[in-house]
Amino acid sequence: MSELLRFATAGSVDDGKSTLIGRLLFDSKSIFEDQMASVADASERMGLEGPNLALLTDGLRAEREQGITIDVAYRYFATPKRKFIIADTPGHVQYTRNMVTGASTADLAIVLIDARKGVLEQSRRHAFIASLLRIPHLVIAVNKMDLVDYSEDRFNEIVEEFGSFAAKLDISDLTFIPLSALNGDNVVGRSEHMTWFEGSSLLHHLETVHIASDRNLIDARFPVQCVLRPHTDEFHDYRGYAGRVASGVFRAGDEVMVLPSGFTTKIKRIETFDGAVDGAFAPMSVTLLLEDEIDISRGDMICRPQNQPTSAQDIDAMVCWLADETVLSAGSKLSIKHTTRTARAIVKDVKYRLDINSLHRDEAAETLQLNEMGRVSIRTTLPLFFDEYRRSRETGSFILIDEATNATVGAGMILGET
């Protein structure tokens, strides 16, 4: 059975992201001849010497014209061990909102660093965003090792420099790999030029990094998406609660509690189109049938009586502001979407703004502008049933929507009750 691994690539412009992705796709035979021909063709028209693999992922006209990545592109490849979804994210600070789009669901992030240039502001920013989004695994790919004579010393310098910055971040799994995306050193196979490196190649790491335990299998949370009532003779009294397990495990026979009502009952059956299952765990989409008829609707949360999420209306969160036309400040009124629940929210306070490069907290800040992040207190019109983001990405995240423009303007990671 092959598993799915989602990873995002980030790094400064020209550090070699596109070359690396091109190499992974090429070596896993996932670049097709017609794609290669069209890349070669476009490269020639642009007056380039060889085919520019960046054109494989920079699919928009504007991106090709400007030679930059504006929005995240998704690419797919598979090896016998795993199937991979790559989110190739833009590096420029003005496209941070597109970067977080690609990175929010990633199991792993690769931040590229040019071995000649060392750790740049962008590298730090991307690593910080990866840690903030709690991407469980971070790979620092020190690229272009061919240009520094495959020097072990240079690699160690970068490891040390980045390491002292990373110590300030909350990163659970950090791996450094020296490579040359251009020549393929340590990308798929181990490099002959860097026998001093004892770790595995990037692809080997991607294939074997342990992701099964990244999921939260402890806190049983089932946000109800909709109620299924077939109204047919065969299923006359059927009332099923459809949803996707956000975290934890549910089993037939389990005692469960429904929020906000607080009623308790037992799980009668867990159904899918393909038959009943004994247990359901994240991220399975199933339908729960309960022993008792209680009033449950979309936006309610099914959990276990001994392990409930926090239920609160005053919430503190790290918020990344994604809008260019408006700012977030105390008094801002927004629509908030959390699990399957939608409510309204008012910003009570901007507690501090975070300088992403120095990690300094600016407590005098009163607003968050485009691509800025900070700690914010909000109050919602309805209670939300949440866990800390660090415990559960699914029940710890929310988005903010501008009620006038309908745009998605904020991404929130819950820290706790205010």
Binding site: S38, G59, Y74, K337
Partner: protein, 301 residues
């Protein structure tokens, strides 16, 4: 229990979650059904999402009139089985009513005309969400697409100004007249689709499997000889063993030479192929490098 989910089950679960979100949050969703393998899989996922209840929205076929008979048969049978409503929006009707003009010449295709018929039909029926079976692995402009893709009152896509889309929190808010295209198969590849068809025992029209057919070569593609295309001078129709990798307007969808007569043989073929699905078979994408982006901007699928 070992708490492991295969990649196909993970994709299935993600798609079902998306489909349920849409049913819960939109007033009038519709599923665009072409009779092609992707929309067949999408329809199956919708069936799974609401079972044992019926799918709570209709399906709509934008019918160019240039389809293979097998596809119509399949469509009607499936819709009857599911007991759901079918809306057919016909390009022929748009032409007859004078809203659109048929392209002329032997290379005429109705593919382009579908966009207007689609947008008109969405408006006429007041559909505010339209499920499409597009996949990100198909094409470079599609690889940029969100799961929920906002369309303005002209049905246009603005690729440079897409809504951020984080976690599995989708923003479907829109004003009257605007709509959202929903792509539940965003993360599926052609191979995933076939593996799923195999695993789930899903039936697809038999033109997806190798068969004998009269075809001729044009622009490096094999087009079927049908009443919808004019064979030009120098083009030599001959019978070959082919199958279709995509099913679209017969005038611009090419067949590929193939001996794959079973699902497993198709999977083996797709695993080994060196050419993308659209590259092999779609004349519409060959028009220019940004042909798909341009069509999508205007409101194409």
């Amino acid at each position: 229990m070992n708490y492991e989910l295969s990649h196909l089950k993970t994709l299935e679960s993600e798609s079902i979650h998306i489909i349920r979100e849409v049913a819960a949050e939109f007033e009038r969703p519709v599923l665009l059904f072409s009779g092609g393998k992707d929309s067949i899989v999408m329809l199956r996922l919708a069936e799974k999402a609401f079972w044992p209840a019926k799918i709570p929205f209709p399906v709509m076929h934008i019918d160019t009139g240039h389809n293979f008979e097998e596809v119509y048969e399949y469509r009607d049978r499936r819709v009857a089985e599911l007991g759901i409503k079918l809306v057919v929006a016909s390009v022929q009707d748009s032409i007859d009513s004078g809203k659109q003009v048929e392209q002329k010449g032997p290379r005429a295709s109705r593919n382009q005309l579908q966009t207007m018929t689609l947008l008109d039909a969405l408006e006429e029926h007041g559909f505010d969400a339209a499920f499409g079976g597009a996949r990100r692995d198909e094409e470079k402009a599609r690889s940029k697409e969100r799961v929920y893709s906002f369309r303005d009152e002209f049905g246009q896509w603005d690729p440079k100004n897409q809504r951020p889309e984080l976690w599995s929190l989708y923003n479907g808010r829109h004003l009257r007249g605007e709509h959202i295209r929903i792509f539940p198969l965003s993360n599926w590849t052609e191979l995933d689709i076939w593996q799923y068809i195999a695993e789930d025992g899903i039936e697809v029209p038999n033109i997806y499997y190798a068969h004998e057919r009269e075809v001729f070569e044009r622009d490096g593609m094999l087009l079927a000889v049908t009443e919808f295309v004019t064979v030009m001078e120098g083009e030599k129709p001959e019978t070959r063993t082919v199958r279709f990798r995509t099913v679209g307007d017969a005038s611009c969808t090419g067949a590929v030479e193939s001996d794959a007569r079973t699902v497993q043989e198709v999977i083996d073929e797709v695993s080994a192929t060196r050419v993308t699905e659209r590259g092999a078979t779609r004349a519409d994408d060959r028009a220019s490098e940004a042909a798909m982006e341009d069509r999508k901007r205007q409101g194409y699928f």
